[in-house]
Amino acid sequence: MKLSRRALVGGAAGAAVLAGGGWAALRRRKPPGTLAGADLARGHRLAKGGFPAPTRFEETGVVIAGGGVAGLSAAWTLAEAGFDGFTLFELEDETGGNARAGRNAVSAYPLGAHYLPVANQDARALRHLLTRLGIIVGEKGGLPVYDPYQICADLEERLFHQGRWHEGLIPRNGIGAQDRADLAAFDAAVTAFAAHRGRDGRPAFTIPAAYSSRDPDLLVLDTISFGRWLDDREWHSPVLRAHLRYAMRDDYGTEPDHVSAWAGIHYFAGRRGWAADGAGDKVLTWPEGNARLARAMAARVPGRIRRGRIVHAVARDGDRMWIDSFDVAREETVRTTATAAILAMPHFVAARVAPGEVRADKAFTYAPWLVANITVDRLPTGKGAQLAWDNVSATSESLGYVVATHQGPDARTAGTVLSWYMPLSAVEPASGRRQLLERPIEDWQSIVEDDLLLMNPDLEGAIRSIDVWRWGHAMVRPTPGFIWGAAQRAAETRPPVFLAHSDLSGLSLFEEAHYHGTRAAEAAMRHLRHPFESLL
């Protein structure tokens, strides 16, 4: 055996290559993924116009234009009252609007709205829906009993704060005396608001918002920003303000300085969940998020839904309406004549397709959002509190992620899908939308991946794909003066046109969309003299 220099040099070089290779393998590879969102082409086509003249004609009793939660709630309410003569048009290929979902080999996952708080006692129609859907399963001591499988399983939420996970969303350790004082003062104030009733006897804040008091002393809160209201009280604690910023962005996609104080307080004082077994402060959730609810409502009216139909013109014809919708598959416009029309679409779209009925109003503004579904090979971990359903970082611009498999049916899973949320609230909505349009998928994936790995370095190497979903007009923004001004005015229409959308509450919540859908359906039935028992 002869040991040559070459062999030794070769050995050393080999070791170096191996070491280098190992290093390269440790460096991140970009995961695959898709870029999708509310159908931009169809939306922009609608904005551009130029649809062909109608070549097909049909007739129906009531047209519901829009298959989001409001439109589906209207359809469901009509069906519940035994009214079958309606047709629902949906622009996209799938109904559900914000409450749509995706699915891959690992799990179903939400694309937008992903939970529903336990309903207030006031929300009669919603409780009726939940009972019919098997979500409220009984009664105990006069309180509704919710199906335990659909209440968010423990642990509900955790916060990444100072390098450690803590239960809940407000840091309790490592904060100063002023922080504690401001948190307590804010808590006391919203607790008082939650119990307060206006001079008209109605609760100061409730859900649906329409049931809230009209007491001018309360409505005046809608004229200033939430930030200003907090400043006036000298609650400057960064811990409190960070939490409130999280809350405002979470529910409204909007910064506290651009949210009305009424909406800000409503977030904390409007929820009084009514349920047995101490479940009143819980939320309902499913792997696919609120798509569970949207699909259940759609399943109630299977033959009445037309997907891939762009409603582009709605006009009055005597005491009837005609609705022109473009059939994407057949590339033709269909004119549907109806005795009533429920416009269950965002207000800016309704104003565009029915200019004679709905007045465009610049006061309606919309928050752009980014949602990413991250498929991972193993469950996230971390120091401190165990993995929760909702996982939030105190320092991130994102709102953190929810875990799709948290809600079962398996007790334990290997991989999961994390639904990661970020409203683009730091810039004007229009420039946020431009960012959504122009940034390539790789940029968004890097943003998502970096953010996730800051919270969960343990997921290094476990990310299998990042699917990015863009919402240009994710939610209406409850800016000062909007809820009790423009939104109220917009709700008033002349029969047989009825509006149904959470835009009319100024709060983009399932409960509000459901309320307005139910209300419009009942108004349409009243107009058509179809007997029904009001759920409102």
Partner: protein
Amino acid sequence: MADAGRPRSTSSASAPAVALLASAFVVATCGLIYELLASTLASYLLGDSVTQFSTVIGAYLFAMGIGSWCSRYVRQNELRLFVRVELLIALIGGCSAAGLFLLFPVIDHFRVALYALVLAIGFFVGLEIPLLMRILRDVEFREVVSSVLTFDYVGALAASLLFPLVLMPYLGMVRTGFLFGIANAAVALALLFVMRDAGRFRLEKLAAIFVLALLGAGFIASERLQRWAEVASYQEPVVYAVSSRFQRIVITRRGDDLRLYLNGNLQFSSRDEYRYHEALVQPALARVANPRSVLILGGGDGLAAREVLRHPGVQSLTLVDLDPDVTRLFSQTAMLTALNRGALTDPRMRVINADGFRWAREARTRYDAVIVDFPDPVDFSVGKLYTESFYRELKRLIAPGGIAAVQSTSPLVAPRAFWTVATTLEAAGLQIRPYHAYVPSFGEWGFILAANGPIAPSAPVLTGRFLDQATANRMFDFPPDMARRPAPVNRLDNQALVRLFDEEWSRYEA
């Protein structure tokens, strides 16, 4: 020998000579340290330290012999080769402990890697010493052989004293490896600077710096590496370790004591598992008139199944365990099937790999006896298997006249957790009868019988190593320190049990 004609004074040894002798010392020390590391690591991971030490030392010395013999074929550039070999030893030896730790769980033939490493290090060290002697002779030394050997043996003494007294207790194996790799490489680098015409060795200098940097990084990252190499956290030698899709499966053995750990939590010790499994299974089966069909939820080790199959009347046994890697392991490995007596491959047995919760929700069959043997409620996902919702599914799975037994943590260490399980079973509409048994490796352990009707206080039990009738009857007495106390209902949306379990056990372990 060509230089023999120009000897110089040895009274003032030149810098190169000192450096070379220092090399001899360091090479010897490091070589022995690597050898000790490999032996210690092997006995730690594979057990049987006598075999490990003697085979590793034997292999090492043999490889040194080969290296020595091969050195005769080196005819020129001894210094360059010496430095290169020293750097290679630094690299291989320095990373050896960390590498073996990290490799252990991921490769099938650990011994092959172990001996390959020992042979490689031995070979290179064996090559070094004769080379060193020749270089020294070239430089200016007289008593070359005796000087080198002296330093070699002194180095060996230093290593063998340092290793057990200082290095193992203070640095640990992984860090020790890196530290001596660094020493190796540093000496090589120093040598390059001290020797004449050092300018010729630019490549070697670069390589030395690279190796130093690599080992330095390894030394700094030792802690993290050690965490990856979690075998370090077990008390007993690990004989099997694998990561399944769901959990970390580790089996350890010391003497006749075989232990299974899942995610670091002890599942059984072969010394006393019969106590646990007889107590879990026999009281339930004793209370069913003629148990034909039995369901085991969890218990992928097949030990509860072994107890069930002792009843000749049992016609079918269904075992639902999440992890196919666990059930495969316990149906194929000889030392494990000896323990469960081949229960998992018994013709009456049907093994289903599924999530227990999902399976129970979808199951429509009823069973005369259901044995619930899930891991302790250490986290929220396992905690789901102890909730009212789960027990409602369990209730549905119990045939008329049938019964269930639920392992329910320690009523002594975690009484509130134990009684939470009891309260929760009752909230799900089941009647209960709690009992407990002493299992040395777990401590005082609790179980609960649950049924859709009243449960007999006593029943004729199948006698085993642990249970006879008197013992079986005694298990149902609870002394005051374990007596029933108020406890909440454990619900999916409010997992009181996980919190109580954590609170009580961490207080106990603190």
